[in-house]
Amino acid sequence: MGISIATLAAVLLFTAIIVWVKSTLADHQQHFASGESLNREDEIASGCPAEFVTQIFARNDLEYVSGLGSAQLKKFFAQERKAVALYWVQQMSAQIRRIMREHLQASRRSRDLELATEAGILLRYAGLKCLCGVLFFTITLAGPQGLQGLAARADAWAQRIREAQLGFQAAKETGKIHGA
């Protein structure tokens, strides 16, 4: 019994990893195909606005479609909303990864690093990556409805990392001006 649960968990984990890797690769290909690249500052400052995140994960659209009484429409809705929710998780995850990469590069060159601030940012980043993994896995298995709270939390954490990076950049710029 214990072994079969462990096997099941291992299979689920393996499936989630495969889905994650495939979708990340697809995302990269689409990124180049669509020429999606925002201005760097815009990208740091803006994620998807919170009202849209709420809309993606809300139940009201599902209730409306369920009320139409078509199993086919309901299935189509579930597929569509799941795809949008997974895309949002990927976008947020990729954006935060880029921000952290830039932050680490800038930190290496910086002479007045605050260890506590850096540790805080790193912890927040690790927490957000875990949360993205949980969201991705749960959406893949059960769809996005009912995950509004978790999505809002991930969105808020991502926003804090963006703000921290903007603050870091502003401090660097001020340092340059004073140093000049």
Binding site: E36, L38, D42, S46, C48, P49, E51, F52, Q55, I56, N60, D61, Y64, V65, L68, S70, Q72, L73, F76, F77, E80, R81, A83, V84, Y87, W88, Q91
Partner: protein, 143 residues
């Protein structure tokens, strides 16, 4: 000083666009499609003859761009039920055969051109997904 004059001018052009042109289109979705149609497919720049004549071409372009982005975000924020109702109004005003309209829109996906150039990618995806769903719902209702 120059920047504030320019801002006022864009605001004037925007108000003019709302009052003279957009207010005559009966639904928000129709306004979105209209604004997207003022954008050149090749260059992505906006052009409106009347607006450019009253204001400068550059000012008119900026006003069209702002209006397009605002209406796009407003339509993207609609619930599915609201979007179905908007699409139905648009379908009625188009005076096309509803079945042919729905078939063409599902196959050709012309609504893709309604997305502004700098739209947030997740919102753009949500918009496309909601339109696909709204079309499927309208078709289901007609069967």
């Amino acid at each position: 000083m120059g920047a504030s004059v320019r801002l006022v001018s864009v605001q004037d052009a925007y108000d003019d666009l709302l009052q003279r042109t957009l207010s005559r289109i009966p639904c928000e979705f129709g306004r979105l499609i209209y604004l997207a149609s003022t954008r050149d497919y090749n260059s992505g720049t906006y052009h409106h003859e009347g607006l450019a004549a009253r204001f400068q071409a550059d000012t008119a372009r900026k006003a069209l761009e702002i209006a397009h982005r605002q209406i796009f975000y407003a339509v993207s924020a609609y619930s599915l039920e609201e979007l179905v109702s908007e699409l139905e109004k648009y379908l009625q005003t188009s005076r096309e055969n509803p079945d042919e309209f729905l078939r063409a829109w599902q196959k050709l996906e012309p609504y893709r051109v309604a997305i502004p150039l700098e739209a947030n990618p997740t919102i753009a995806r949500l918009f496309l997904s909601n339109i696909r769903l709204a079309l499927a719902i309208l078709r289901f209702r007609r069967e």
